[in-house]
């Protein structure tokens, strides 16, 4: 079945996650409903996608997108800005998109939401 170059690279990167930087990740047991379970099995069986790393980047991206949907999310984001941003996480994606910006004067992190 067809796989784009981007998805192949992503899979390769995801595979490497299981070997390096394990402190940055937590393994969770997901008990999905039957519909979701069927599709996860389908992706695994038909496309050979490894289930364990399948959702790492996707969850980060989805959380980032959801956070960007409302200015009201600023307060919850603010709660997590005291710690360094974990590479690839939802918050680091917010920074990469320019939605939050680390102030250069060292007085903390300033939030800037991009107006649509």
């Amino acid at each position: 079945m067809k796989k784009t170059l981007a998805s192949k690279i992503k899979l390769s990167l995801n595979d490497s996650l299981s070997e390096t930087g394990s402190d940055a990740f937590e393994t969770i047991t997901l008990r999905p409903n039957e519909d979701v379970g069927a599709m996860i099995s389908a992706l695994n069986e038909l496309l050979r996608l490894p289930v364990s790393t399948l959702f790492v980047d996707e969850i980060s991206k989805k959380l980032c997108d959801l956070l960007l949907e409302s200015k009201d999310n600023q307060s919850i984001i603010q709660e997590f800005l005291d710690e360094p941003l974990q590479a690839g996480s939802a918050l680091s994606l917010l920074e990469r998109k320019g939605a939050i910006e680390d102030e250069a004067d060292g007085e903390g992190t300033a939030l800037t939401f991009v107006d649509e």
């Binding site: 389908a42 996707e58 959380l63 974990q86």
Partner: protein, 143 residues
């Protein structure tokens, strides 16, 4: 009375029972990796909404799978349709079931809703007074 079967009249498809019997998915579980800070965010969200971490993760994963299926559909309609059908068949559903992955992909259930909301893109479309009234109430509830 003795009957004989003419097997040439029968196909090689799924059996009557197999067609309607969901496969062994009832207690399926998967180990997935999640970035720790994403998990902290999910836990905070769970606290704020009163939902469990598992509930939120399951909702996210379901949403993500739908996005993945639609992305694949954009790249290759055929393989997306097949993936959806395969998943549906695991559930004892067919491509014409209205509540399966195929339906979600091809929009069987949402066709009329989509057609309706497309009308809003037309500059000349004027929703009813009641529509605006309900819109105001929704906005007020959000405050």
């Amino acid at each position: 009375m003795t009957y004989h079967f003419d097997l040439t009249k029968f196909g090689d498809g799924r059996s009557f029972v197999e067609r309607f019997k969901p496969r062994e998915l009832g207690n399926s579980k998967f180990n997935i990796k999640v970035r720790k800070t994403d998990l902290s965010l999910i836990d905070r969200l769970a606290e704020l909404t009163g939902k469990s971490r598992a509930f939120i993760l399951n909702a996210l994963v379901q949403n993500i799978l739908m996005d993945m299926l639609h992305e694949r559909y954009e790249e290759d309609e055929d393989s997306a349709a097949l993936l959806a059908l395969y998943a549906d068949q695991k559930l004892g559903k067919s491509e014409s079931s209205t509540d399966g992955w195929s339906a979600a992909l091809f929009g069987l259930e949402s066709y009329f809703a989509k057609s309706y909301w497309l009308r809003h893109d037309d500059d000349n479309y004027e929703p009813s007074e009641e529509y605006w009234e309900i819109t105001r109430r929704i906005q007020a509830l959000k405050k």
